[in-house]
């Protein structure tokens, strides 16, 4: 593999020894800063009797307390910022597993580093200045669209911020007319575009599309192959999360043996989510990341909730950064539907607010014709007076679905089940049935 696809060969091929020196220096300076500037960390380190001067090497990181999504939610909106708000030049926010979202601030340097990391991920996937890149991701509070936009612009590609608002037809029209060579979106959206092409009778060969970068939701090897076959592209996996920097944390190279993590910006650990003990290479566990260059919103040992494993073996592409396997699941019960994350308990909270709905429900996720569907099956209260009345049921259905949309931004189909049919003791063992895994 040529070095042409390395965006920053100096950093991406650092020897392990040099990289570890850089990591420990950056870790120590980050720890000194968060201890001085972030009350949460000062308290956490003091409570755990952490002496920062004892963090003399990378394994010592394991002695520090974790940061959880719950900690971030409790600090809503700005309590975990490490700089005054006037030093923050960008604010993003993302859905979290329960009500309160996570708010992340970026300084000028954070934006520059984010752009750099994103550009590396794009270059690893094969994007060059000759590409026309269509980004069909949300451009709003969610950092996805912006992260890829900045990185692709730094590479010098021609970037189309198509966003996720445009319809499938519009995306296809842009793709065809603007001669898009690379598509960046969520896997489920790529499938919708593929179905759209098929319905319109437009063969992918008549497009200029050759590459795709995907992220934002869980997907499988089979789905990756299916997208490649249906869109006639090389599809690569990317990894990012709102709490860190959206896209740019890790990305696949053409070796297709996992995603290289930008280790000069993040220290990676994998832990057993039950014992919380570190796991070795190849062992599957929860991904834990520590930011070592972030100024605005540094995170120490952040538990991502994503299940993966790490492969430190050298890669044919020349990058020396370790690779993480495709995310195979979550430690919590977080469900991601069309980029919106929610937990069953949030559904429960919504149902509790609607008169007539019982707290017994089932979440059914499916993929129909390439598009993801969400059905919330709800037991009707036994006390509900007029179960057989169609109009009353229709009002109840609309009440639930409106609240799902307004509270959780979920576009779900609501159906009803007989009383007693969905009780956990007798009914399904899990409130979530996900049939999307099999394409």
């Amino acid at each position: 593999m040529s070095h042409a696809r390395l965006h920053n060969p100096g950093c991406e091929t650092l020897g392990r020894d040099e990289l570890e020196q850089l990591q420990i220096e950056r870790l120590q300076s980050t720890l000194n800063r968060v201890y001085r500037n972030v009350a949460f960390y000062r308290n956490a380190f003091d409570t755990h009797c952490v002496n920062l001067e004892r963090i003399r090497d990378l394994p010592a990181l394991a002695g520090l307390p974790f940061t959880t999504p719950e900690d971030l939610r409790k600090s809503y909106p700005y309590d975990m910022f490490a700089v005054p708000l006037r030093d923050i030049v960008r604010i993003h926010s993302g859905a979290a597993a329960s009500g309160t979202p996570i708010v992340v601030g970026y300084t000028r340097n954070d934006l520059r580093n984010w752009t750099e990391c994103s550009a590396r991920v794009l270059a690893a996937a094969g994007i060059t200045e000759h590409d026309v890149v269509q980004i069909a991701l949300d451009y709003g509070l969610f950092p996805g669209g912006f992260g890829f936009q900045q990185g692709a612009e730094q590479i010098g590609a021609s970037v189309i911020p198509a966003s996720s608002i445009a319809s499938v037809e519009k995306q296809i029209a842009v793709m065809k007319d603007f001669k898009t060579t690379a598509l960046i979106t969520m896997p489920s959206h790529a499938l919708r575009i593929a179905s759209g092409l098929e319905q319109m009778g437009l063969h992918p060969e008549r497009l200029c599309l050759k590459l795709g970068l995907f992220g934002g939701e869980r997907w499988s090897d089979q789905l990756q192959h299916q997208i490649e076959e249906r869109l006639h592209i090389v599809a690569t996996d990317t990894y990012g999360l709102t709490a860190l920097m959206g896209p740019g944390v890790a990305g696949e190279c053409h070796g297709r043996q996992g995603m290289h993590i930008n280790e000069d910006h993040f220290i990676v650990e994998v832990i057993d989510p039950k014992t919380l003990q570190p796991l070795g290479p190849g062992q599957k566990g929860e991904l834990v990341l520590t930011t070592i260059t972030k100024e605005g919103f540094p995170l120490i040992r952040y538990r991502t909730g994503d299940l993966t494993s790490i492969d430190p073996q050298p890669c044919a592409c020349g990058r020396t950064f370790v690779r993480m396997a495709r995310v195979s699941g979550r430690t919590d019960d977080l469900v991601v539907f069309r980029g919106v994350a929610f937990t069953p308990s949030q559904i429960e909270q919504v149902l509790a607010q609607v008169e007539g709905a019982s707290p017994h429900y089932q979440i059914i996720l499916d993929r129909v014709g390439g598009a993801d569907t969400l059905e919330i099956k709800v037991e009707v209260c036994e006390a509900f007076p007029s179960l057989d009345e169609v109009r009353t049921l229709e009002t109840l259905r609309r009440g639930i679905s409106d609240r799902l949309m307004s509270v959780l931004n979920l576009d779900a189909r609501v159906s009803f089940a007989e009383p007693q049919s969905l009780r956990r003791e007798t009914g399904p063992p899990t409130p979530v049935v996900d049939r999307r895994g099999t394409p």
Binding site: E18, Q21, L22, I24, E25, R26, Q28, S29, N32, R33, R36, L52, E53, R56, V83, P84, R86, D87, T107, R108, N109, R112, T293, E295
Partner: protein, 245 residues
Amino acid sequence: MLRLANLEAGYGPLRVLKGVSLHVSQGEAVAIIGANGAGKTTLLKTVAGVIRPRAGKVSFDKHEIQGRAPESVVESGCSLVPEGRHVFPTLTVKDNLILGAYALRRRKRSAAEVTASLEEVHSLFPILQERHSQIAGTLSGGQQQMLAIGRALMSRPKLLMMDEPSLGVAPMVVRDIYQAVARLKRNGLTILLVEQNARAALAVADRGYVIETGQIVLEGTTQELADNQEVQRAYLGKEYERIDE
């Protein structure tokens, strides 16, 4: 080339360096900026062997040199230009320079090599050639600074460490000195620079570290440091208004 790992040092009960880790790669110019008393000078003196570290490692060219005597550190190729110049005031400019080649002679290098070193120093600071027989104590502050740098260069170091080269020097001369530093860097010399004058240091360095009360609190390229608002307020003189919470 130079690597510090968790370096600790101090004076008596005073802990000045509290676990400093940093590195300087071959051909790189690295600046350490920080306020008075942050530990900058102690850091350089510890590397140079003037102060013994209490803990931690100093590796130079892959050899551990912590705790070695200063002359041995110089011989290994690491020279310090101390803060406040410390030229020998009663000796001539030339004699000051020749003394700087002491380590070369200990390594039994030829007189020709000493002469070559002298010529290089003269080409960098022509004023030192013009004033070669003048008594060093009668030079201006800026000229003494040039002499101190020249003297350190006489041992043909691989790494040149400079402690506050702009201190007590007229602004015009600061520019001359930093132009010389930039030239040394272009010629491939590796430089570790300690400065309160962050603006001057960041102008010539590739990377930098910010040190506060004996701990590194920031690392980055000079552009990153220059763009950091806290660095701007604390070291680059950008107006700082206190926010009372």
